[in-house]
Symmetry: C2
DNA sequence: CCCTCATATAGACGGTTATCAATATGTATT
DNA sequence: AATACATATTGATAACCGTCTATATGAGGG
């Protein structure tokens, strides 16, 4: 994963409403109208957020009749978990009074 | 952690340059001048990013003489790891042809 | 067919942000 | 003190983003 790909995913998660949607979808599959009920935003704004979430791959959509069912893409989140599994090494650089 | 707190942290990580800095600090402690060498941005821009990283708590700074040593705050990243450890339940909502 | 409900799109607006050049501050070295 | 180096701050600018209203699209139901 490139830095750009990573920062793009974090950008998707950098909005409070989208985090709330993700949390809601964590426990159950939901349609847009149900999400809308619990959010304090207009319908077009929700549609905008859901598009961003789906485009990123973090959420998947399935059209069922009039409704669209949204659901977490857990594969993506498993990958994200790995991102934070880095190992930190306490190397001291810039010591000996020089940075060159 | 509230949704706002979470999205604020993701916002910090939503910039490609800051992701690159985080990655660089993953393996070793570095001063600003060393970070600057490997990045294609001006010194004031780096200073701006380092302030955002430090304010968020993801990175800590330590002034040593002329230099500022930056280092990952691994406690924060351990916490972030947990965020992605949710359990997904495949509840189907919106079934039976109604959303009400 | 018309009407209603669910969702998407278009366009406008205000606020935020990343970037830079210029400058300031602070710290060592000579 | 004077100079050089490391970092921070200021102010300006351009691009981006979240939000809304208005409108369009699409799918059932009567």
């Amino acid at each position: 994963m490139t830095n750009k790909e990573l920062s793009d995913i974090f950008k998707v998660l950098s909005d409070e409403t989208r985090v709330q949607v993700i949390k809601m979808l964590t426990t159950e599959k939901l349609c847009a109208c149900q999400l809308l009920k619990q959010l304090k935003i207009s319908q077009p704004t929700l549609s905008h957020h859901m598009r961003i979430l789906c485009d990123s791959g973090l959420v998947t959509a399935e059209k069922v009749g009039k409704w669209v069912h949204y659901q977490i893409n857990s594969q993506m989140f498993d990958q994200m978990k790995l991102i934070f599994n880095f190992t930190k090494i306490d190397n001291i650089v810039c010591d000996k009074g020089t940075c060159r």
